[in-house]
């Protein structure tokens, strides 16, 4: 593997941090500390980690409701993410959004969107603004395979290509749109066939391999940056948990899930690194300990956080309260 030890540890650490954050979120949800909907990224960590490491700090990110991984790696503190899921005022969206709507203006993290496909036009618009202002930024837009069914996917590809906007469309294909398998909701299972019809170059990568993801996203992002033209990358991945916390997974077999678990991005990466002697078990232990502490501190932060006073409920409806 052509990767330095330090960087390998970085990638591994971030994947493990996401995994532990998600596991703790699941636990807290069943204890009713986190409410509403909770969509876990377990199994897909390589996509979030690889992609976010490949993008630059000032690139714009638009993501879906399954965005804890991207948010964490982008740099939103686990504490603020946890507090947001609790609904506390010290959450990254002030407690106003919850798990599905993590936002961070200072980190160019534009959410956290719950309408499938709804973020794509926003990404197009952000790229439009950058282009008009002469900024060479990439707007990376994450969405799932389900979004490729929506009209806005096709409209956005068309518009981005037509106006030559620097959007990197990142399709996290985990083979299910909620409970409907890929082959049941798309007429052409090869999603990467769509974008070229609009003049958007498309590629595919194994989303369970963090190194491959990072390389692919980096290449695509640089092309977008240079050409100021949109590009599309399909990341083939799989989620090990249900669509959301309240899903009995009637639509797929345990055997299928177990089969995919053999490709666990974290275990797979760890094994390779250990085998090649790039890391030692003690490194992994250190990472796990640090992650455990980070998550424990995040929970503490959330527990201690205040609830927004009800008197402030109308704040931020408008720039100034209408009276």
């Amino acid at each position: 593997m052509d990767i330095s030890r330090d960087h390998a540890l970085e990638l591994l650490r971030d994947m493990i941090r996401i995994r532990r954050l998600e596991e703790k979120s699941a636990e807290l949800y069943s204890k009713q500390k986190i409410r509403g909907f909770l969509h876990l990224y377990i199994g897909e960590e390589a996509v979030g980690v690889g992609a976010m490491h490949a993008l630059r700090e000032d690139d714009n990110i638009v993501a879906t409701y399954r965005e804890h991984g991207q948010a964490l790696v982008r740099g939103i503190p686990a504490a603020q993410i946890m507090a947001e899921m609790y609904g506390k005022a010290n959450g990254c969206s002030g407690g106003r959004g919850g798990s599905m709507h993590l936002f961070s203006a200072e980190r160019n993290f534009y959410g956290g969107h719950a309408i499938v496909g709804g973020g794509l036009p926003i990404a197009v618009g952000l790229a439009l603004a950058d282009k008009m202002k002469g900024q060479s930024r990439v707007t990376a837009c994450f969405f799932g395979d389900g979004a490729t069914d929506e009209g806005e996917f096709h409209e956005s590809l068309n518009l981005a290509a037509l106006w030559q906007l620097p959007v990197l469309f990142l399709c996290e294909n985990n083979e299910y749109a909620m409970g409907t398998a890929l082959w049941r909701h798309v007429s052409d299972r090869n999603i990467a066939n769509n974008p070229p019809a609009y003049g958007v170059p498309a590629d595919s990568v194994n989303g369970m391999d963090v190194v491959a993801v990072e390389r692919a996203v980096h290449n695509e992002a640089e092309l977008v940056r240079e050409t100021s033209k949109p590009r599309f990358l399909e990341l083939k991945t799989y989620r090990f948990r249900a669509h959301s916390m309240y899903d009995a997974e009637l639509y797929r077999s345990k055997e299928e899930v177990d089969e995919h678990k053999k490709d666990d991005p974290i275990e797979g990466f760890q094994k390779r690194l250990l085998k090649e002697g790039l890391v030692e078990q003690s490194d992994i232990d250190t990472i796990e300990d640090a992650a455990a502490k980070e998550i424990a501190d995040a929970v503490e932060f959330a527990e201690q956080g205040e609830w927004e006073p009800i008197e402030d409920i109308t704040r931020h409806t408008y720039a100034r309260n209408l009276s």
Binding site: E27, S30, Q32, Y246
Partner: protein, 425 residues
């Protein structure tokens, strides 16, 4: 020792069924192990445990449906716990039982503590409420309905809100107006063109009160055939007892003789129920509860006779405190409607004015009234000797439709007896 609780497995899950236990008591579990299968609306979900330890007790049986958050099992940190086996044990404290009829039986009408609280809050006498619940239980709604004032029986006049407002301001009687507004409703111009009533000074509250008293007394005089029975009561024992008791009390807690009289009247009424009733729509309506009204004169003229509710209950000190409170509220105009309407008999005492006796008029719809004069030193005969004793003349006015002189006399005798043993009051 920690508890494994029924987890929330979704935004709208409120309860789940423990479909199957995957562990038994004594099993060791690790964080992340599947401990049970829970059935929800969406299907069976395997549930993991977040603690590690040994299963001490299973608290919920397979097939049982419990709310989210209910304790399902106890997990100990070491060794096997002692306890009943895991299957089918009775639900423990963690399982929520449905609230059955856990009412505190207070006697009287069937009503739960919550209903009693509401009745107390709304000043509704439960004895007067008809229960619409199971087996005549009184419900919250029954209490609320009883608290509402009787609906006005006047026919509704079709008039715009604006017209009604100015009609009120001008003292125009809208019932005689012809409306020219939409749908024949009375509108503002109809009011404005009507002859306004001669501007009369609105009656002062004192005038209004006087008018009300006049109306009530006229009615009493017209409708109630009064009979009177009079008696003189030796108050020596009562006053001596009071002196003793008051010596041990602080100034603000001291009892006055009036409170003894009120309590004695109340007790006497309990025995002589015919005098504890009201006359409504041509019939006697007896009351299980005793609410003695106290005539209170107001500064600036005027008279009210609010009820000291449940005068027969509680300690004398309580009654004293309530009486003091009632009088001050009466003078401040802060009486509750129940106090104004629930008296079953009234006591009017002119003792403070120094007169010997009063022959009072009954306040309708009551059917009796007790008038007390001052307690004065008078020559009395005790053991054949003439001595000076403090005596009080009491006059009972009774409604002859309901009771007669005999019953009145028995009542006054009872009153006398009660006041001879003040320590029993």
């Amino acid at each position: 020792m920690t508890e494994f609780l029924m987890p929330s497995l979704g935004a709208d899950m409120t309860a789940g069924t423990l479909a199957k236990w995957r562990v038994a008591t004594g099993d060791t579990v690790q964080h992340g192990d599947i401990i049970a299968e829970v059935e929800t609306d969406k299907g069976i979900i395997e549930v993991e445990v977040f603690e590690s330890g040994v299963v001490q007790r299973l608290l919920v049986s397979e097939g049982e449906r419990v709310p989210v958050g209910t304790a399902l099992a106890e997990i100990g940190t070491r060794g096997l716990g002692i306890g009943p086996s895991g299957t089918g044990s009775e639900p423990e404290a963690g399982v929520i039982l449905s609230h059955g009829a856990s009412d505190v039986p207070l006697g009287g009408p069937m009503a739960s503590p919550a209903v009693r609280r509401k009745a107390h809050e709304l000043d509704v006498s439960l004895g007067r409420v008809r229960g619409s619940g199971e087996q005549g239980r009184i419900t919250l709604d029954d209490v609320r309905s009883a608290a509402l004032p009787a609906a006005a029986s006047s026919e509704r006049v079709r008039i715009s809100p604006y017209a009604r407002r100015i009609a009120a301001e001008r003292g125009v009687d809208v019932s005689v107006l012809r409306g020219t507004g939409p749908g024949g409703a009375i509108q503002a111009s109809d009011v404005l063109s009507a002859k306004a009533a001669p501007p009369s000074k609105p009656a002062s509250s004192a005038e209004r009160m006087q008018n009300a008293i006049a109306a009530a007394m006229t009615r009493a005089n017209d409708e109630i055939p009064h009979y009177y029975v009079e008696h003189t009561i030796d108050m020596g024992n009562a006053l001596a007892w009071l002196k003793e008791v008051n010596a041990t009390l602080g100034v603000s807690e001291r009892l006055v003789s009036g409170v003894l009289v009120l309590r004695a009247v109340a007790r006497a009424l309990q025995k002589h129920k015919k005098l504890n009733a009201t006359w409504q729509a041509g019939k006697v309506v007896p009351s299980d509860e005793v609410h003695v009204g106290m005539a209170v004169s107001l500064r600036g003229g005027g008279l009210v006779a609010p009820a000291l509710r449940n005068t027969n209950q509680g300690s004398l000190s309580d009654l004293m405190a309530r009486m003091t409170d009632l009088v001050s509220r009466a003078r401040a105009g802060a009486l509750r409607s129940s106090e104004m309407t629930s008296a079953t008999t009234t006591v009017t005492s002119l003792g403070e004015r120094g007169v010997e006796a009063v022959t009072p008029i009954i306040f309708p719809p009551q059917i009796a009234i007790v008038g007390c004069g001052a307690t004065l030193e008078r020559p009395w005969v005790v053991g054949g000797q003439v001595v000076a004793r403090p005596v009080m003349r009491v006059t009972l006015g009774g409604d002859h439709r309901v009771s007669n002189g005999h019953e009145g006399a028995r009542f006054l005798s009872a009153l006398d007896r009660l006041l001879q043993e003040p320590e029993e009051l």
